[in-house]
């Protein structure tokens, strides 16, 4: 590759927020037509960097050179005019508008300046979608009816509807299934072949190896390595750069004795099913046992957990705790029987975002600290603090606002909620989503310790190593059916992926 002048050079970018130095000297150099990956843990400054590029944040210091000229994208519109488009993790489509309307939002083709030429917009949108290899998306459909993968394509079409030379993609594969990821990569390949540069943010090292050209690694708001060859840099080296450690996951030791097969199962699932979501499932969980459900997005994993928990009503079968059947479709019955759920969407499904740690922990146990509805707030606070200390939740302040905590500590608060309640069965749905690589190991340790203390854990994760490393027993799911059950130590990642993908429709 001939050394061309780079398309974009950022040097010494700094950005502070009250109390935090988010960027502390970031350098990034992107060439036309390359896929440049940016790696870093949560909090390393990736999101802030993206926002600076997109014009959403103004840097405090440093220089941005674009096509040889120094620029300061002062607003998202200014960045767009330069030819920089950003596709955020939370896709920003207006659900009530059609695909074509979303693509041309803000620069609709018009007659006389204000009458939107719908047909022109649809034709142009169809052409853009065709160019992205997704001619099957109807420009007249409402964006809200599309799948996550299709929405992403629409966001990309929107970017291309401007004269774009750089597309920033923030964890684009997070919501996608493997075959959809393949499609995404093909599209990225087509774009770069046309000379468009892509800045690709991802956690998944194997993806970066597949499509990346070069890698920049951020740590604590600083560039620790720039322009590494994506294909040949070893995983170990990248992880070391990201963490200062040389291993990505550390799993706790399993308890020496096998899950006591003699103990009475605390949770029994008998033929539980929901039409169209998952086939009848039988499962027994003993105290001290961690059972993992592995499968793709859409294989029914989360649906199973939520049905066990009563948040969804089963169409057949039943759930028993300590031999007593639960009233189907009742969360309260499940909670009262000693079942707790740490849901997948922590922010939306578990946290009271404006409240303190204490109030988030005690929300399921309020009646314990009250007499006739009257709260003993001192006792409540002390109990919350005892439990959060057992889990080493940081900061050790029961009055801290939950939303100021890191993902790992928020998850600990959710676990503390159920520990305080004294639950017997813990359902964990993607327990490490949004949790730092470094904090994960600690969370794994907590889960294992709780199991050793007699809790039964049912774990769902889309990260196969996590299921294999943490669980004692693994159920592999495909399209709502259990295709394999085995001791976690007898399985490896490739075997599980084979089972999960086998026979699944490929694009």
């Amino acid at each position: 590759m001939a050394p061309e002048p780079p398309l974009l050079t950022m040097s010494g970018i700094t950005k502070s927020f009250p109390g935090v130095r988010a960027l502390d000297g970031v350098d990034l150099e992107v060439r036309a037509g390359e896929v440049h990956c940016v790696l870093g843990q949560n909090g390393a400054g990736k999101s802030t960097l993206i926002k600076v590029l997109a014009g959403a944040h103004q840097p405090d210091g440093g220089r941005i050179t674009w096509c040889g000229q120094e620029v300061t994208p002062g607003s998202p519109i200014a960045a767009m005019r330069l030819g920089i488009a950003t596709i955020y993790q939370e896709l920003d489509l207006v659900e009530g508008l059609s695909v074509a309307e979303n693509v041309f939002l803000g620069h609709e083709p018009t007659t006389a300046g204000f009458v939107v030429r719908t047909r022109t917009a649809r034709t142009a949108a169809a052409r853009l979608l065709e160019r992205l290899g997704h001619g099957e998306i109807d420009p007249a459909r409402r964006a809200g009816e599309l799948s996550a993968a299709q929405r992403q394509i629409v966001s990309m079409a929107r970017a291309l509807s401007h004269d774009v030379r750089l597309i920033v993609m923030d964890e684009p594969s997070a919501a996608l299934d493997p075959d959809e990821v393949d499609n995404l990569f093909r599209t990225v390949g087509d774009l770069t072949a046309e000379g468009v540069a892509v800045v690709y943010i991802s956690h998944r090292l194997e993806e970066i190896r597949r499509i990346g050209d070069r890698v920049t690694v951020l740590k604590d708001g600083r560039t620790v390595a720039g322009g590494l060859p994506a294909k040949s840099t070893s995983t170990d080296e990248v992880v070391t750069l990201m963490t200062g450690r040389s291993v990505e996951y550390v799993f706790p030791e399993r308890s020496p004795q096998d899950a006591p097969a003699t103990a009475e199962p605390v949770l029994r699932i008998e033929g539980l099913t929901r039409k169209g979501e998952f086939a009848p499932l039988d499962l027994e969980l003993r105290p001290g046992e961690i059972v993992g459900l592995a499968g793709l997005v859409g294989s029914g994993r989360s649906e199973i957990l939520e049905t066990v928990y009563g948040a969804r009503r089963p169409t057949g079968g039943r759930v028993l705790v300590d031999g007593v059947p639960l009233r189907p479709g009742s969360v309260r019955a499940a909670v009262r029987a000693g079942v707790g759920l740490a849901p997948e969407e922590r922010k939306a499904q578990a946290l009271l975002p404006m409240e303190s740690v204490t109030r988030n922990v005690t929300v399921s146990t309020l009646s314990r600290f009250s007499r006739g509805g009257w709260l003993d707030q001192q006792r409540e606070r002390d109990a919350a603090r005892r439990t959060t200390r057992e889990l080493s939740l940081r900061p050790d302040d029961p009055d801290a606002r939950i939303r100021t905590l890191s993902g790992g500590n928020q998850q600990k608060a959710v676990l503390a909620r159920w520990l305080l309640r004294g639950c017997k069965v813990l359902l964990l749905d993607e327990p490490t989503r949004g949790v730092d690589v470094g904090a994960r190991a600690e969370l794994y340790g907590v889960v294992r310790r709780l199991a050793d203390e007699g809790l039964a854990v049912l774990l769902v994760s889309s990260e196969v190593p996590e299921v294999l490393g943490l669980a004692d027993r693994v159920l592999v799911l495909r399209e709502g059916n259990v295709v394999h059950t085995a001791d976690a130590r007898e399985l490896d990642e490739h075997r599980v992926l084979d089972l999960v993908m086998e026979g699944s429709p490929t694009a």
Partner: protein, 343 residues
């Protein structure tokens, strides 16, 4: 956003059942007692208003009888606002409060009801309020209706029913024991009984909001209803109770209005819904739910009532008064946004 976990956060051995240091606990003041920026700024506004009144109308404004009047006028809408605060904090809204006050006040003053005397009037006013609240609550909690729509429907129906009962006529109260509550002789240490009721409702409301599981659940539902449901709390029942509570407050307010006016009218409680919402909002309760303050709401009511009083004393038009109210709402919310961002 960029919360980085400190190294100390990892790998430190758990300290099981560590005793809570007493010093730190003692320093802690339970939330609800901590005066915040919003409450203080509202107190400031009130102080300014009192100063303005003291300067412009020194003899009349600060007289005992005028203060009694202001507080009495604040009582009716104040009781409604306490109920509204709970509803808004839970993420809901009750547009029917004014109509419920009207319906309760006319139902409680029909000739047939008045035959049962004091108890009959009080019981009817409260029962009608609770009944309307029950319908609202059932429609919203179990019928899955949006609070805005359900209470808008109640607003229309209750007003209509009030008109039908009275046929547009004013129903004079003839029960002496009810009217007696409004006269000077009934004042306790110079405080009108209506104001005492308002104070009692405020106190009970504050305790309910800040010291009970009911209050805690109200805030939780407003902050994140789905998370609250998944935490094992019966969100629907909580919602039902909240609209019942608002209805109850409307019933009490209707009784106070009957005492104050000596009559029941189908036009009673006109625009109470807007006044109550405005008072709650400038008090610091979030319209989107999850945060509320009873004290702030009551201060909001006092601010509005004092303004009305000031304008009346200075012979200013009510049109100007409306404009001033609007400006205060805007200013209060802007100040709160600042304060929230500073959090």
């Amino acid at each position: 956003m960029t919360q980085s976990t400190t190294p100390a956060g990892h790998g430190t051995p758990a300290t099981p059942l560590a005793p809570v240091p007493a010093g730190k606990s003692a320093a802690h003041r339970p939330p609800g007692l901590r005066p915040d920026v919003r409450t203080l700024s509202l107190l400031g506004v009130l102080a300014v208003l009192v100063a303005v009144g003291g300067v412009t109308r020194p003899d009349e404004f600060l007289s005992v009888s005028n203060l009694q009047l202001v507080l009495t006028q604040a009582s009716v809408i104040g009781v409604v606002t306490v109920g509204m605060t709970f509803v808004i904090t839970s993420g809901g809204i009750d547009l029917s409060v004014g109509a419920i006050v009207a319906l309760a006040s006319v139902w409680a003053t029909t000739v047939a009801t008045q035959e049962y005397g004091f108890a009959g009037i009080l019981f009817t006013a409260v029962a009608v309020g609770l009944g309307c609240g029950l319908v609202n609550g059932l429609l919203i909690a179990y019928g899955g209706m949006v609070p805005f729509i359900a209470t808008l429907a109640m607003f229309a129906s209750a007003r209509g029913l009030a008109l039908q009962i009275t046929d547009g006529k004013t129903q004079i109260v003839t029960v002496e024991s009810v009217l007696d509550l409004g006269v000077k002789d009934a004042y306790v240490l110079g405080i009108p009984p209506l104001v005492l009721v308002f104070a009692a409702v405020t106190l009970v409301g504050w305790l309910l909001f800040n010291r009970t599981t009911f209050g805690r659940r109200t805030v939780a539902v407003g902050g994140n209803a789905e998370a609250t449901r998944l935490a094992g709390i019966d969100v629907r029942r909580q919602r039902l109770y909240l609209y019942l509570l608002s209805g109850l407050c409307c019933g009490i307010a209707a009784f106070l209005l009957i005492v104050l006016a000596g009559s029941g009218q189908n036009t009673n409680g006109n625009l109470y819904e807007l006044d109550a919402i405005a008072a709650a909002i400038i008090g610091g309760t979030l319209l989107s739910g999850g945060r509320g303050t009873v004290v702030g709401s009551v201060l909001g009511v006092l601010v509005f009532t004092t303004i009305t009083n000031l304008f009346a004393l200075n012979n200013l038009e009510s049109a100007v008064q409306q404009i001033a109210k609007g400006a205060i709402i805007v200013a209060a919310v802007l100040v709160q946004h600042r304060a929230l961002r500073g959090d």
